[in-house]
Subunit: 377 residues, 4 copies
């Protein structure tokens, strides 16, 4: 693991998610750029002291020298966005698979470069768009594919948070500080942090791509350099249109990612804060409430649940599903063999590149007086 | 009453709403342009046969000749949009107050003309934006005014319906037929039919006006001349921004008008299908669920409820509240006295004009490559 | 109308409900035992001064002398329980139909006597168990009858209120005062006031009768002579068992009447505070959400709604449905003809008698050390 | 681990829960009474082959001989009820702490004996009443303790499931088979399987004990020897009364454990299927919705959450909280030192004994004609 020191939120999430199914073991880490801090963290995680490194370069170099079977199999990158590209590239080039937090990189240029490295090395890279790991998100994707709601016409996806309603970055909130800093977060604020999740979710469920958008980004809290509030009209490559909202100033909201998809025969609705429920609407029939763990679900949704219906699973389990899909691909990896991410069902480098292209287009469109901007990736 | 024959939906609603509180009595009507149909309708409503007229011109002329105290006090206009302006103008010019279904007229030009007639005659005109009649909508407006959620930053209003997902106008559905016909509905389809409600609701609750917008209108069902799906980014005159959605192709949705307003201290959420509940979010405090009929509500909300909390009131009661506010103004009317609609709390001709300007701007913006369009009224 | 003076809650409800559909007109009343108060009330309701009476005896006597077509058709009795029997009996014996608030009478003995008067006169008597007037309650009844959820096994009905959590009767709360007074309310407190509604609802939906029960009644607030909190195990004549809860000390609850019925194939759930929704569960299928106003509903449910789906109707409309069913029966009444309440779908004197027998059995069982008590009516 | 072979549901849950926080490592197991099956299971869990045992006696004996630091620290018992007592006793008597699925034992007699063994050995024993591990259940307990809802008056707890609506035990459903078999399940069916959870939850939140009850148990599905449907009136030692429902024939229900507690100042409501939400009602104030992960919660609730609010945690995390509390106690264990389960916040042997006494009283009361039965433990 690279990053994920004691104050990090997402590092702990990655560790629990990786660990949850008893299939992945944390064996080493460069948790902090301060050697002692990294050692201390490693100790608290029961790591061998020799495998808590003070930098990712050290870690990659040393681990590489360990015998196969003992050395780490892959690297988890859980640092802020500006420390994604370099460690990912280094790891891949040294033969380690990579799983990396979103957005993929700091810039679209980096993303495209990284994609080339992945293609060149043939190794597995996953981006943790964890929301696609929820059983009922998988069910939604299956229902769309099955034609249950007909030809898709409208996609509404919103991701309201309220935690940046006030200038948290001026308090001692590290999570806020780097997210509002262009040097560490990149071009997008809310757009990059949560907008990419929303866009990815929409594309995952509908199995189609956003190709054009018209956006409006705001820095609602005074003094912010990046957007803390974003919205866009969307055009998909299947002729559907939609709206995306990503805001961090929806005071009092927690993490209320919600998607509604309508076709000519019906509609779907899923909400992350109640993730085990999927609402399915039809013309002239009662609304149906699909529930995780039930026998009537698709195999994809069934496989993604660990306990019987009525025993709620949550964010960590969804995250763990991404890890497991990635781990399955890593297990099956053979040099020269091409890994099909869709088959394993994890977000890959292509999704990561698309995310960065989305951010770039959102920022560009918002500054433009022209209505529509094409996404280029 | 003008319009509201046996097949009409909104005519029946107006009658129940007017009647509900026992303060307004239906005394005459021109329910249909066919004399016998109008008579038959009047009979079923226990009207004196002599007061079921075959045209609104006849009705206005004859009623005018009846002695005061016997003749009708005001006219309800519940016809399709293209038959709003003429009867409203005629009624006003003959001394009758008017209550009229939304949108106010067929065109913005008509709307402005009608406003002049209202100003000239000094009579009372109400537009039935009935959703503003709900107790918890009134509470929302009061809470915004009180500063409970701080300075308003974001307004999200959506009005999804699904009933026009299929070409209903090609079946024998009269309600659908006129709504998709530019000659009878005007420039806007979904925009005029439900978008005006959404815009009015946003302006009512925030007590501020939409001044600029960037819209995207679609005719999703093939062959439709008007939009059946609309969305817009909004700018308000209080510097808030927002998003408005009005769609009639959200398959399986009923009438799910919903508004969320966020300020720097908190947020509000109200949904028409569960109208007796208002959700109030705050920074760092549990979400609160305000309920109609409770003692802690504002006077405006309390007055708008008829029964104790827990006894749900609905759409007809909200509609009746608009009628009662209008009726109170009519009662207080004295020639030469200016009626303050805000005091009585009903949507007036100015709201009606704003609605028409909104429709015009929505259509204009959607056709433009420029991002922003100003609303002119 | 008998009762329903200015402070009364249920009197106003009866008036709106009767009036709502424009089919019933209030023509006279004995609103108060004080002549001037009754006159004042009548005036505020636009009644002819001569038809505001100072007692129900006066009203019945005088109205009887008026010519047919002018005199009242029926009497609404909305007084506290101890003034139910006498006016109902007098009205019936003088040829007037009766609609009466629940519970039917002060005692079971009175109830049985009243039933005899109804049978003897052949007139129509309805008891306003208004919750049976909701469209989705009617749908629930139809679904049970249709076998949708199979053979009924379990019935859970609960009616929690919180308004008597504190000794409201010691404040100036007239509604509380008579309800906790055995002389005016009868044997049951919560049991009579809301338990009878819950029992009636369970019987209505399942179309079967409670035949035995085991109850536990409490006077939670010190000093109360009647129960403010009740519960019972139930046995039905179709071999189903169930639980009934009726409490007025569930602090913070409004009027949260809720019923769940399970058969061997599925289950139903309905909640009064969101009355337009009926949840239907099945074995191995997604939960379905039935909604008032939709095309897939039974005729009984469709007829009970006035507006399209998504336009919520509430308590007053449900109450009005009971009034309309009663009014239809009154219209069809011919001397000597037997009125079938089930066909018109209103709660009749038999339901009223059953309610009183239920109260008596609840009180008896609670005092007994034996587990089960038979309901005798 | 004892039990938890490939077909077991709860074994997998225990493993994930134990593993989730990276503090507990599975080192050995007797997963099946068939040696090869146990080995195969161990292999799939990455265990050293030598530590997959073919019986718990073998496991305890062999592990005991391993050096400290290498041998297992405690035993998880996840077998059906009839194989709880013997392995638990043996483990304790050989110096191993024990965590055991509920109900504690097959009979109350066994439970009392086991309690003596715990007391004699001074070791730690936890019973996995996992629902007490949810953050919002802990918050509920804290709110009751803080006086937020005043003196407790009413407790309603219900645990409806539908999975035994049909005779699943006659299909190849192992989970159903042993639960309906008195030899393996004990005296109680639904009562033991889920009723004990409901009773424990009620006692945990209110911090008081059920002392008397009046029950009604049914075997709804023909041919069952144990109850599949149970209910009871409850009396608590703090003078509160309540109702408990535990049924497995609520067709279509999943695992809808729900508790409502009312005091003289307010009420609480929590539902396991949406576990991150706690509803708090007050007199004359809006209902509040407390949410897991928020800053305003008690320390107990905060500590029990791993991720920020809005990232739902579920059943496995709650279960893991019980494991972590137990593990903390095990870590702090020193011979001769008394472990205070309440401080660590896990259900202990006393809770287990109370559960068995509850089952016995439920069955006894149901057979009795007398209303009330005392719980003796």
């Amino acid at each position: 693991m690279i990053g994920g020191g004691p104050d990090a939120f997402i590092g702990a999430v990655h560790r629990i998610a990786a660990n949850l199914d008893g299939q992945i073991e944390l064996v080493c880490g460069a948790f902090s750029s301060q050697a002692e801090k990294s050692k201390a963290m490693g100790k608290s995680l029961f790591l061998d002291r020799s495998r808590s490194y003070s930098s990712y370069t050290e870690m990659i170099e040393r681990e590489k020298r360990l015998p196969e079977g003992e050395r780490m199999d892959f690297v988890s990158i859980v640092t802020p966005n500006h420390i994604h590209f370099d460690p990912a590239k280094l790891a891949l080039e040294n033969g380690f698979h990579v799983i990396i937090d979103k957005p993929l990189t700091l810039t679209l240029t980096e993303a495209k470069q990284l994609k080339k490295v992945v293609e060149k090395t043939g190794l597995v890279l996953a981006v943790t768009h964890a929301y696609t790991g929820y059983p009922m998100v998988k069910e939604a994707r299956q229902l769309v594919a099955s034609g249950k709601i007909g030809k898709i016409r409208k996609v509404y996806v919103e991701y309201p948070q309220g935690w940046l309603s006030q200038p948290e970055e001026k308090t001692n909130n590290k999570q806020a500080a780097w997210r509002v800093d262009p040097k560490r977060a990149g071009l997008g604020g809310a757009t990059g942090d949560i907008g990419t999740h929303a866009a990815n979710l929409a594309e995952y469920i509908t199995n189609s791509n956003i190709v054009e958008l018209c956006s409006s980004l705001n820095s609602v809290v005074k003094g912010r350099l990046l957007d803390d509030d974003a919205a866009a009209f969307l055009k998909f490559d299947n002729d559907a249109t939609g709206i995306l909202v990503a805001t961090q100033v929806a005071s009092g909201q927690e993490n209320n990612l919600c998607i509604k998809v309508y076709g000519d025969k019906g509609g779907l609705e899923w909400r992350q804060e109640e993730p085990n429920t999927l609402i399915v609407r039809s013309l002239d029939k009662p609304k149906e409430v699909y529930r995780a763990g039930m026998g009537y679900l698709s195999d994809a949704a069934k496989k993604a649940a660990r306990v019987p219906s009525g025993h709620p699973e949550g964010y960590l389990e969804a995250f763990a599903n991404v890890y497991m899909a990635f781990a399955n691909a890593v297990r099956d990896y053979r040099p020269g063999k091409k890994i099909n991410a869709a088959k394993y069902d994890f977000p890959d480098v292509e999704d990561g590149v698309r995310g960065m292209a989305f951010v770039e287009a959102m920022v560009k469109s918002s500054k433009s007086n022209q209505k529509w901007t094409t996404i280029k990736n």
